[in-house]
């Protein structure tokens, strides 16, 4: 990994209102190169809104939000694949929208499909895939743009536990290999700790960050780390902070 730790995403005193509803208030948040930051919080606390602001889908009501890179990947809650396109053509979509020439597009798609372990499924249609494979296709689609900052909006929330753990491992592998910075939204404290270099806890509405925890475990991570007392202790601390913030 490079020693470059420049800031890619910078939120300063960000607030967000939707009509009369105050969704976010006083959010300070930075994500630097080499970091994988997870945000946990109760439902409706504005976690997803953070990503929508970071990606430019929403404009802040107050404060500033800036990104240092144009290469931003966004992985939605659903795989959002186009039902009429094969895996390969779905993975090529973003490069296509960015006017990448055909040959280059095909090469990038093949590489990304290989990275997520879907080689051999290029011609399958989304309806022929399992939920986990659809999510992998969605990941591969974003990987074709070689993002510097990757935004994840609870991407594995709808998957079963086994698939979810396997995809967590693969995401960690990608993080180490591809060297992107990540901002990951999730409901699961254990998932957040396992994936991240830093975990932020949000309070209920209006959402704001009430606590931050550095995760001391080295990358690449051993899956068995999840069964160590240190891991359990950190999950316990974060869960406690989550309950405090919810009060």
């Amino acid at each position: 990994m490079t020693a470059d730790t420049s800031v890619l995403l910078d939120f300063r005193d960000v607030s967000m209102r939707f009509g009369d509803t105050e969704a976010l208030t006083g959010v300070d948040l930075t994500v630097s190169r080499g970091e994988f930051v997870s945000v946990v919080g109760p439902s409706g606390c504005g976690k997803s809104t953070l990503l929508r602001i970071a990606s430019g889908l929403e404009q802040v009501s107050g404060g500033t939000a800036s990104t240092a890179s144009q290469r931003i990947g966004y992985v939605f809650q659903d795989a959002t694949l186009l039902a009429w396109r094969s895996v390969r053509r779905n993975v090529e979509l973003l490069a296509e929208l960015h006017h990448v020439p055909r040959a280059e597009r095909a090469a990038r798609a093949a590489a990304a499909i290989d990275l997520v372990g879907l080689t051999g499924f290029e011609k399958h249609l989304p309806r022929q895939l399992s939920g986990g494979m659809r999510m992998r296709t969605s990941l591969a689609r974003s990987l074709t743009l070689d993002p510097e900052l990757f935004l994840f909006d609870e991407p594995f929330g709808a998957l079963d536990e086994i698939t979810r753990e396997r995809l967590n491992d693969e995401l960690l592998k990608l993080f180490v290999q591809q060297n992107f910075a990540g901002l990951f939204i999730t409901h699961s404290v254990a998932e957040a700790v396992y994936l991240s270099t830093r975990v932020l806890v949000m309070s209920g509405r209006p959402g704001t960050i009430v606590a931050g925890f550095d995760v001391p475990f080295d990358m690449p991570r051993d899956p068995d780390i999840r069964f160590t007392p240190e891991f359990a202790a950190l999950v316990g601390q974060i869960s406690h902070a989550l309950r405090e913030g919810h009060r």
Binding site: F76, D78, L82, W84, L125
Partner: protein, 258 residues
């Protein structure tokens, strides 16, 4: 679409033919008006063995097919363009949708004299009636399909700098295809009705089956009337099945229903 076992409709068909024989026999024996409801075999005989009538039937059928196809093509182009236009902005949808509804509620009979006066009593007017009858399902189904795009997919396109046209071409239209084919199937069935109705009002030139039905009926040619009616009905069924099949061929592989 669920597959229906063939033998169930066949039994119903047998029952209908039997009932038809019973009614025909009643008209024949009790009322002595055999031409009002002719025996089924006489109808078949008229359609298949009377060379002159068969010739007439085929010519008229061809005309009806031409009118139906022309009307359907125009309705498809206008209907889809209308829907695409409405899908581009909320204010456009609000401004234009009421007229799609009004179009459907206009009694065709009420404006027939006007169509005749302006466009004459030939092919053009027959096609106009066909278009008017079959347009609405194209507009409403296309619009529904275009609007059915998932919000996150919209945002995916927006995040990656896709403009209106690209989004329409690569996201909205493909997503709308299943709905468009449902519209097309409905519109095709209606277009056959429109072509027959158009014939009844605008009889000059080379009209289709609608005129044959009227002429046969006025000549008290019961078998001829029935043969023309059944041919028109079969055309409707064939067209409906054809577009159902086409829809399944195009979208069946990936769409959930078609």
């Amino acid at each position: 679409m669920k597959r229906i076992p063939w033998w169930q409709p066949t039994i119903v068909f047998g029952l209908v033919v039997a009932l038809w024989y019973a009614i025909a026999a009643w008209y024949d024996k009790s009322k002595e008006l055999a031409f009002v409801v002719p025996y089924p075999h006489l109808v078949l005989q008229e359609a298949l063995t009377d060379g002159q009538f068969r010739q007439q039937l085929l010519e008229n059928l061809l005309q009806t097919v031409v009118i139906t196809a022309t009307g359907l093509l125009i309705a498809t182009v206008i209907g889809m363009s209308w829907a695409v236009l409405m899908s581009q902005a909320r204010w456009l949808e609000h401004s234009l949708y009421p007229y799609a509804v009004i179009l459907q509620t206009i009694p065709i009979l009420a404006i027939v004299p006007l169509i005749g006066t302006i466009f004459g009593y030939e092919f053009t007017s027959r096609v106009i009636v066909t278009v008017m009858i079959s347009l609405f399902p194209m507009v409403s189904n296309t619009l529904f399909g275009l609007a059915s795009v998932d919000r996150a997919q919209w945002e995916l396109f927006r995040l990656n700098g896709a403009g209106r046209f690209t989004t329409l071409l690569k996201l909205q239209l493909p997503a709308a295809l299943p709905a468009i084919f449902v519209g097309l199937r409905t519109a095709a069935g209606l277009a056959v009705i429109g072509a027959i109705v158009g014939d009844q009002f605008f009889q000059r030139g080379t009209p289709g089956l609608g005129v044959l039905i009227q002429v046969s009926n006025s000549r008290l040619n019961g078998p001829g009337t029935f043969a023309a009616i059944i041919t028109a009905s079969l055309l409707g069924v064939v067209v409906f099945l054809l577009f159902g099949l086409l829809g399944r061929l195009v979208t069946g592989k990936w769409a959930d229903q078609s």
